[in-house]
Amino acid sequence: MLQSRFAKTTASIFMIPITAFFLVHSICWADDRYVAEVTGVTGTVSLRCGFSTSALESGARLKSRDTLETGPDGSVGIIFNDHTTLSLGPDSKFTIQEFIFEPSQSKFSFIVKLLRGTAAYVSGLIAKISPESAKFITPSASIGIRGTKFVIHVEEI
């Protein structure tokens, strides 16, 4: 009786971190579909998904919720499935928050976030088909896009 209760308590104590671990990781695994491809990498560029970090190489594919970080010598080019192109300069941190391109279901969403550094953006199909569905977010602003090219810089002050 006492032993089984002890076992139960121990089990539940161990289950909490294990469940938490899988919950955090499932955020990363939830959507397996690739939404973008890396076309060119210069210097140090790393990819973070959940807790895991790896060096990013040219030709790698990206998913929603992936975070990219470039080092002081780093830069990277990305082509999304709707042909939106994006490139990051040195010391930048960037996240793909949501990417949905499903014309037959009339579902379109492009939400990315630049946390620091520099980026160049050129619209693809989502911004042409459904303009208000394309958004570029920074810590201090949200940019709505209607078929265009722009550069953006985010820095701490």
Binding site: G40, V76, A119, A120, L125, S140, I145, T148
Partner: protein, 219 residues
Amino acid sequence: MLVFVSTLASRRWNRCFLGGIVLGLAVLWGCTPTRSYVVLLPDTDGKVGTLHMKTDSGVYRVDKPYHSVQSEGHNKSAVHVRSVEKQQIEALFGKALDAEPDQQFRFEVFTLHCTKDSDELTPASQKQLPALITQLKVSHPVEIYVVGHTDRVGTEHYNALLSGKRASSLKQFIVSQGVKSKVIAVSNLGESKPLVDTKDEVEEPLNRRVEIITKTLKK
């Protein structure tokens, strides 16, 4: 760990320690003020679009090339729209621009208008149709997206159906004129993406439309 430290430290130190944690968390959560600076550029074809920067203090529109908009801080955003020298762009964004992937495709948007509560084109749009068909046949798009829209009269559900009808009717016509059906995708966006913002149940002829977006290989 926290409990251990709390019992060791005096009450004052305890408060300091907790304050430190709160401050640390605030920094971790991104409370440091930041500045965001955006410059609109012409694309490789020289075309310039528009962008809207939304901050705590309002919405700012940029539609001229080499014009910038900047927002600062968290609560009190200072926003300026001004023109920028090309050398400044190169100095700050040179590395990011060098990493830009090549543009393989060109996109074009054509808009045709429909009559009220119907999938028929307006007389003006019907006149534009032959030239559009010729263009579609000559430019050989890899993909064609036909997207229906409505104004805000009627329910969202009804307008989703109406916009679908507008898009499929136009697709049918394009196919009957000899454009391959397999390159065409149809979407219906109902009243959700108006060209002109209106209140609900307001008639707006400009919002009753079908947009055709073509994707062609760049030479």
